[in-house]
């Protein structure tokens, strides 16, 4: 069935583009250490807020040259109270490919020093400029993307088993169990989710390591989403359990838990897939919203949301548009997920299939 879906996705023009874009983004994120010229914490504080490096390949005498860039020098103009950036033309910094730079662990395992591109030791290459601390926005985008783009999936992996089991049990047992369990789920659903989200995020114990914080945010996102999911699963289980093979399983005395897990829940697969792709973007958006408010991923860690926080400043938007790139990336990936979700829904929806034929 997965194959079928992929095939259909490939056939649809928009979905195809979306798949390619997402694939590209995820590959970039996977190899972030290698692609990014710097680590996420590397900073050159004498180069705070510098614009994107200009890369030249025709030198001042009009000759073709290996690509090179200049460093910026920062000058404080006392009359205009302004910091100005000029090229330091005293030295050309050639761009080197697959050369040694900041050490890292490739895929978190193999220690390596080579980067896709870098420049000499005293040169700096900032493809998308730098932030307030002189950190490379391009590198941080890649590392921040790892967090932003996986947090949704991780949350789904936490909430789906809970939702499935909860909905399955509630639907299968029915009666009082069902009523109590569903009332509880409804109560959770009746609390406006964003309100709940910020409250939960704000009561996270302070002083956690960044990994702990990340995991807890995943957990919070999951806590908010499970109830709605469970409710739908329950509805599906109610109709599935009347089917013959379930009754057959009952009659041969299979345990209730086994029936739920083995016979009923697998029937909900198609729904699960749709729900998964459809809800990933909402988690990406939730994370960015949280971080934007300062309740999500914290400095010095990067996520697209907390990078965007810096960009909300008026003067930054006007004078430092490169800080807006995380917003653009959020937009692109959410859009791509939505387009894919739409297409999958059309494929899986038996009714539209019928009409199509």
């Amino acid at each position: 069935m997965i194959k079928e879906i992929l095939k259909a996705l490939w056939k649809d023009k928009f979905a195809k583009i979306a798949v390619i874009v997402l694939g590209f983004i995820y590959v970039m994120l996977l190899f972030a250490d290698f692609i990014a010229p710097y680590t996420k914490d590397f900073s050159d504080r004498t180069m705070a807020y510098v614009p994107p490096s200009k890369i030249f390949n025709i030198d001042e005498r009009g000759k073709l040259s290996k690509p090179y860039t200049y460093n910026y020098i920062r000058v404080f103009d006392k009359d205009n109270l302004e910091i100005k950036y000029k090229f330091d033309r005293s030295k050309k910094h050639y761009i080197k490919f697959l050369s040694k730079g900041q050490p890292y662990k490739f895929l978190g395992l193999i220690p390596m020093k080579r980067h896709l591109f870098t420049t000499d030791n005293d040169g700096r290459i900032f493809l998308l400029g730098t932030d307030i601390n002189g950190r490379d926005v391009f590198s941080r985008l890649l590392f921040g993307g790892r967090i932003s783009m996986t947090i949704g999936f991780l949350a789904l992996f936490v909430l789906f088993p809970i939702g499935l089991l909860y909905g399955g049990i509630s639907g299968y047992f029915g009666g009082k169990v069902d009523i109590v369990m569903m009332r509880f789920a409804e109560a959770v659903m009746s609390i406006p989710s964003f309100y709940l989200l910020i409250i939960l995020a704000s009561i996270l114990p302070p002083g956690m390591t960044s990994t702990q914080r990340f995991m807890l945010i995943v957990l919070i996102l999951a806590l908010i989403g499970w109830a709605g999911f469970a409710r739908v699963v329950r509805g599906m289980v109610l109709s599935i359990k009347t089917q013959e093979y379930v009754q057959a399983a009952q009659s041969i005395g299979a345990s209730k838990f086994r029936i739920i897990v083995k016979h009923i829940l697998p029937q909900t697969t198609s729904y699960v897939i749709v729900a998964m792709t459809l809800s990933v973007p909402s988690y990406i958006l939730s994370e960015s919203g949280l971080s934007f408010l300062g309740l999500g991923i914290q400095q010095p860690d990067a996520s697209w949301g907390n990078m965007l926080k810096e960009a909300q400043e008026f003067t930054n938007i006007i004078y430092r548009p490169w800080l807006l790139t995380p917003g653009f990336l959020i937009f692109v990936s959410v859009l791509a997920f939505n387009l894919i979700g739409d297409t999958i829904r059309d494929i899986l929806d038996p009714k539209s299939k019928k009409q199509g034929t």
Binding site: S193, F194, F331
Partner: protein, 324 residues
């Protein structure tokens, strides 16, 4: 009619245990917080320790949590929501904000329905044509922009063009305006926030309407109507439409819910004096009473929204009553 009435009563009664459950969940979540609600007072050098002591007593922080919940629930029922950590009445603060949030959300719901339903119908009628596809992509784009980011950009746009006010709900000289002046002033301030929320919530509604319409168009009685030789126009707008809109009413409650959540960030960026901004500020300051009350009010509004949707549904679709 009697049946309908009974069902409505039953439905209203059902919300009571729901609300109790919500209050318990929210109360315990908030009180699990390791944050000291008096921290702000404690750091303020102009507040004496005696004052801090008094505040702590007033908030009942020295009692066990069950007692605190009991105290809280009892006074909530009486309509006394306590005071904020700065000594203002919570009920007063909420009363200032809730109408504004309701105004914003109702407007957005109205607008999305006015636009989303027709768009859904057209998309369904023109199913699988490029028009349908492009519409889906367009609404997807609207849905994909982070609301706060969109709001920030719109504010920038407002500054650059000078066409719109920078947030808020009324102009400084509002109180001196005539009735129409006031009306226009509020409308003027509402344009941008409504636009943001409208953009992000249109897609969902349009899709749902499209799906419903497709379902109905595929049903036997529509096929039958077509077979009868009725014009396509009549088939769609007379027979299919009614049946497709009905299930949408259930959605009203959910839409209200998601709007309430979505509005928080928009309110924050636009400095809109609504419930969402209030709760954000309260959360950041760990103002327990205020957080608790606004959370409850949000939930109450949501439950009420669902209730209204259900009641509407019964009134329009008598079949439900039988099921109930």
């Amino acid at each position: 009619m009697n049946d309908t009435f009974k069902y409505i009563i039953k439905r209203i009664l059902q919300t009571i245990p729901l609300l109790i459950m919500i209050s318990i969940i929210s109360f315990f979540i908030i009180r699990l917080s390791p944050v000291d609600p008096l921290a702000e007072l404690k750091l303020n050098p102009s507040v004496s320790p005696a004052t801090v002591e008094r505040e702590s007593k007033r908030l009942g922080l020295d009692k066990p949590i069950i007692v605190q919940y009991g105290k809280w629930a009892f006074s909530f029922v009486k309509g006394d929501l306590g005071v904020t950590s700065t000594g203002e009445k919570v009920s007063k603060k909420l009363a200032e904000r809730i109408p504004n949030t309701l105004l914003l959300t109702t407007l957005v719901i109205l607008l999305t329905w006015l636009v989303g339903v027709p768009l859904g119908i057209i998309a369904a009628v023109k199913w699988k044509t490029p028009f349908d596809r492009i519409l889906t992509v367009l609404t997807s784009i609207g849905m994909a922009i982070p609301s706060f980011f969109f709001a920030v950009l719109l504010l920038l746009f407002a500054v650059k063009t000078g066409w719109f006010p920078i947030g808020g709900l009324t102009s400084p000289n509002y109180s001196e305006m005539s009735f129409w002046g006031k009306f226009c002033d509020i409308a003027y301030h509402l344009i941008l926030p409504v636009f943001v929320l409208f953009t992000i919530s249109l897609a969902g509604l349009q899709r749902q309407m499209r799906a419903n319409m497709l379902d109905v168009l595929d049903s036997d009685y529509v096929k039958f109507a077509r077979a009868k030789g009725l014009s396509e126009f009549k088939v769609v707008y007379k027979h299919a439409l009614r049946n497709a809109v009905n299930p949408m009413i259930t959605l009203l409650g959910f839409e209200f819910a998601s709007l309430l959540s979505g509005a928080a960030l928009t309110e924050y960026v636009f400095q809109y004096p609504g419930l969402g901004r209030l709760i954000l500020e309260a959360v950041l300051k760990s103002d327990i009473n205020l957080v608790m009350a606004s959370l409850m009010m949000g939930a109450v509004m949501l439950v009420a929204g669902n209730l209204i949707a259900d009641i509407l549904l019964i009134l329009t679709d008598p079949r439900i009553r039988g099921r109930a």
